[in-house]
């Protein structure tokens, strides 16, 4: 009698079978997987165009088995706008770090959201500039030591960490804005749902969808993998509360 074998876990089709360059304990890999899972589950792989940003995730096209355009630092939402306006029926997402999206690219993200651009934005907040070696990011926490805040971030001189999920939720063009994290299995499952929702909204031409993901950068934080994960759960979450800050799909149905 033949035994029936069921696959319970496999590599998403939207990811290539290659080894990534990410450091041990880096959350970029997990977040890549969540995006790929969403594309697979919604059957979008063949119609998706990813926009890679400048940061540790710039090599998106080496990992995702989809069409990809590499954008200049901070400009992914503008590049996504250009692509989407040419192929309105395709699925277009940007994948951006906090330096990319919340510092140099602030104008582009705000205006893409405000126009209600039909794109999905995955925003990886790791409170530092990973790729360039751990400098201060707009999301760096008060007192956090980075290579350009050697005495800790001083609010008086360096300004405040910026909360993008809340900020973008204020714009009329935003349909969905949520902050999630991937620091444990339960939270990964919640994050997966948020990412999937952000792509569903685009599929239904529901407007601009934004998911901020809190992420660890053990290398530049100078912490072990476990310590870095704990920092996300504790320090980061108390400044950047998880939650759904706007969801027009809910208010639209009166739920």
């Amino acid at each position: 009698m033949a035994e029936s074998v069921t696959t319970v876990f496999e590599r998403p089709r939207s990811l290539k079978p290659v080894v990534s360059h990410f450091c041990a304990g880096c959350h970029h890999g997990t977040i890549h997987r969540l995006v790929a899972d969403a594309l697979d589950q919604l059957g979008l792989q063949d119609q998706t165009i990813g926009i890679a940003s400048v940061g540790c995730s710039v090599l998106l096209y080496e990992y995702f088995d989809i069409d990809v355009v590499e954008a200049p630092h901070g400009r992914a939402p503008a590049v996504a706008t250009g692509v989407k306006r040419v192929h309105p029926h395709s699925t277009v997402f940007t994948y951006q770090g906090d330096g990319d999206l919340a510092a140099i690219g602030t104008a582009e993200i705000i205006h893409a959201a405000n126009r209600g651009e039909q794109i999905t934005v995955i925003f990886v907040n790791n409170t530092t500039y990973g790729m360039t070696g751990g400098q201060m990011a707009p999301t760096t926490l008060p007192q956090q030591v980075t290579t350009t805040t050697p005495f800790g971030r001083q609010i008086e001189t360096d300004g405040n960490p910026i909360r993008m999920a809340e900020l973008l939720a204020l714009l009329d063009g935003t349909s969905y804005s949520a902050r999630v994290s991937v620091d444990g299995p339960k939270r990964v499952a919640q994050a997966a749902r948020a990412v999937q929702k952000a792509f569903e909204i685009q599929k239904n031409r529901g407007g601009f969808a934004f998911v901020e993901v809190l992420a660890a950068c053990p290398t530049n934080w100078g912490l072990s993998v476990i310590e870095a994960n704990e920092r996300v759960s504790q320090e980061m979450m108390s400044y950047f509360p998880l939650g759904t800050y706007k969801d027009l799909t809910v208010s639209a149905t009166g739920a």
Partner: protein, 355 residues
Amino acid sequence: MSNRLFVKGNEAVCMGAIAAGCRHYFGYPITPQNEIPEFMSRELPGAGGVFLQAESEVAAINMVLGASAAGARVMTSSSGPGISLKAEGISFMAGSELPAVIVNMMRGGPGLGGIDASQADYFQAVKGCGHGGYRLIVLAPYSVQELYDLAMTAFDLADRYLLPVMILGDAMIGQMKESLIPRSYDPPTDLPEKSWAVTGKQGRAQGNTVKSLYLADGALEAHNWKLHGRYQQIQQQQVRCETLGLEDAELLITAFGSAARIAKTAVEMARQSGLKVGMIRPITLFPFPEKIYRQATERCRRILCVELNNGQMVEDVRLSVDRQAEVRFYGRPGGTGSMPTPEELFKQLQKHYKD
């Protein structure tokens, strides 16, 4: 019945672009080119296209980058300060081998400068305004008709050689109204397919990647040699230039764009007064018509270069003649009241003809 129209240069360039199949425009207002976004915002939606006023020139050029990567014929326009902001995106497009048409209706500078005609962005256009060492094809129209015609040419060149093409006009030619005969667009049959465009994989085995990052050992060098080879091809195949009276000229005047218009009148005045003056008007600033200068200097040993700046193209003229001729310069840097008259240039011709 003639189909002759009376339109502004800024409108003519849009009409040429739309005739050539451009259906996407992204831009940001700046004088003296505002009629371009205004025309596109009126005309593109009805033509099944997209006009989008971006939040900045930085965003606009990156929207152009995205639309081009997606396979569309796409255009943006600006003037000096805005082109400076586009520089990074232009470099990325050159590195990513993306076609597009960028119009610069030049105004005076540096800084905010002024809004009157100037040719002070020659270096910016021809020497590469962004980083990393690349070339744009640069076209220099000198009439409303030529703006229209070269807009079509620009899209074909961009698609053929996979790079951004810049149309370098200025406040005078953009704002001026002239008659235009809008010829119909005749698409070349041998343009390469855009099989590299991002569309979603749509059943393709491999995803398409549009990028300018090359990290593997030797990869960036190989990429740059490939681009260099393409630039050499352009230099061999795409030089465009108008010449006048080279056969007997004792003195040559050379100028591009608006300055060439004024210079042409001065040449006519000189010829009428018996001076054997000729003219070279580059229409492509890259590729620069080096050979035409060199051949001309086999019999004529003096060239007067006239520009609406303090001397930029003159450097390329000097390199081209390679010390076989004496190259002199007359220029005015632009700004209100800084436009030479034909009489002024005629006097210059008389002076340089003698000594």
